[in-house]
């Protein structure tokens, strides 16, 4: 595996602030009933950061997190399943304006599953999609409404977002090649 940094921590944070501004500019009417729902795993920390940034821009949002494992389209075809993380939707979904949040829009399959999962909780008034990275070539007809970075890379390469530095890897956005 080889990896190269596409954006450092500071550039990533400015992308997140830009994403928050796009959302705030769109939802200008302040009495709207808006919720950010992060998709596990990395949509959750991103939704948290956006929730904070939107607060600074005077846009109040509710916060939720969604696990889509029970809604995947590849159960029984993989050798094993990912761990199920906690879903917390503590607000009434009916008529809510919901912004789904994920770190990377790649195939679109996660978002397809998230739409099914979310609508099992009620009937939202509107659903929009915010992603930090849009890879630009989804397999499903799904597009993001708010995008931090557009990154075009061959399908076999992976875009990895590190919100916090971990041993051996700093925070930032990386291009990872699994084949090398």
């Amino acid at each position: 595996m080889t990896s190269s940094q596409l954006f450092d921590a500071e550039q990533m944070m400015s992308g997140i602030r830009d994403l928050a501004r796009q959302i705030a500019d769109h939802f200008t009417d302040s009495d709207r009933d808006i919720a950010l729902v992060g998709i596990h795993q990395l949509g959750v920390p991103l939704a948290r950061l956006l929730h904070e940034e939107l607060g600074k821009l005077n846009l109040k949002t509710e916060f939720g997190m969604l696990d889509i494992t029970m809604y995947r389209d590849d159960i029984g075809t993989r050798s094993m399943l990912p761990r199920i993380h906690e879903t917390v939707i503590s607000f009434d979904v009916n008529d809510k304006e919901i912004i789904l949040v994920d770190d990377v829009l790649s195939t679109g399959r996660t978002i397809r599953a998230a739409l099914d999962a979310l609508t099992d909780y009620g009937r939202p008034g509107l659903i929009r999609l915010a992603v930090l990275v849009d890879r630009g070539e989804p397999e499903f007809p799904i597009r993001a409404d708010f995008v931090g970075f557009k990154i075009a890379l061959p399908a076999e390469r992976k875009v990895l977002v590190n919100f916090e530095a971990v041993p051996g890897m700093s925070a930032g956005i990386f291009d990872v090649n699994w084949q090398k």
Binding site: S79, I84, T87
Partner: protein
């Protein structure tokens, strides 16, 4: 960790980490049943056969509902209606089921190890819904789930299981699970039903109810099986009830927050007085609710790890 087993046969085989993984998964499935839409598409397109060679009502209903809430297709087979009566071997019966491209077999059998025998010979997943006096892993898991939810954990927790331990698969699955997770286990009942040999696996053996419950955080009562009454294991129901039945007066020996559990069906006023079964320490109906969540988790994990 990730789940890597195609079958769930017993808690004896599982590590503490695997048990905890199932309980964590079940916690998320419990929330599904609390929603208005009580169904997820996880097992859509998969077929589950419930093969009950020994009669069962509550376990079968719980499994069936769990399968429906996972969107699986279901076939129910009972021994009375199967070709076992026409002389077909059990292995041929399940091989025929597998040839119909089913994905999972949930099986109950009166013979110890029947499911292990079948699981070794089938490509599809096998879930043990009770085999003889050996194991009833989903009952053990739902008891563990209920204890963890109420008490927060297992380390140093005192759990007493009272009743016919000798013939009980529920007791065995509980014992293996509890010991792996760090609880102290006491088994109690008449010496004919709770032989000293149980000490060899690391549990305390007790032939006096007061001793068994005095320091317990959890008291799990097993059903006294009427059908064994004539086998000479104890003189009579009345005598059993007088010595080992839990009544309102027994509660005075216990800590105020001791949980009262029972896998059902209850013989009211034999092993457990009605007022205790319905009292505030009882979590018996919560066990039933949790059983559904645990079975959804097990079906999901076992179905999900196969290629």
């Amino acid at each position: 960790m990730q789940w890597k087993r195609k079958d769930l046969l017993g808690l004896y085989d599982l590590s503490a980490e695997e048990i905890t993984f199932i309980l964590d998964t079940a916690a998320e499935f419990k929330k599904v049943s609390e929603r208005r839409v009580k169904k997820v598409p996880a097992l859509r397109g998969m077929t589950v056969v419930n093969f009950f060679v020994e009669p069962s009502t509550r376990t079968r209903v719980s499994f069936e509902l769990a399968e429906q809430r996972l969107s699986a297709d279901i076939v129910n087979m009972q021994a009375q209606a199967s070709s076992l009566l026409k002389g077909e071997t059990m292995l041929d019966t399940v091989k025929n089921i597998e040839a119909l491209q089913v994905d999972l077999v949930v099986m109950r059998h009166s013979a110890t190890g029947a499911q292990n025998f079948i699981a070794d010979r089938l490509k599809c997943g096998v879930i043990n819904a009770g085999d003889g006096a050996h194991e009833h892993p989903t009952q053990g898991l739902l008891d563990l789930f209920t204890i963890r939810e109420k008490k927060g954990g297992f380390k140093g927790l005192n759990v007493s299981i009272v009743g016919d331990i000798l013939h009980s698969r529920v007791a065995r699955s509980n014992i293996w699970g509890l010991l792996k997770l760090g609880a102290n286990v006491t088994v109690a009942g008449p010496s004919t039903l709770v032989p000293r040999e149980f000490e060899e696996i690391g549990v305390r053996v007790c032939h006096n109810l007061k001793d068994a419950v005095a320091n317990a955080d959890v008291v799990n009562l097993l059903r006294i099986q009427h059908e064994r009454q004539n086998n000479g294991f104890f003189p009579g129901i009345g005598e059993y009830s007088a010595n080992f039945g839990v009544k309102a007066a027994t509660m005075e020996w216990m800590k105020p927050d001791t949980l009262i559990m029972h896998p059902g069906p209850i013989n009211r006023d034999v092993e457990l007085a009605g007022e205790v079964a319905d009292g505030e320490n009882s979590v018996i109906l919560e066990q039933v609710t949790n059983g559904l969540a645990v079975r959804m988790a097990v079906l999901f994990l076992v179905a999900g790890c196969r290629k």
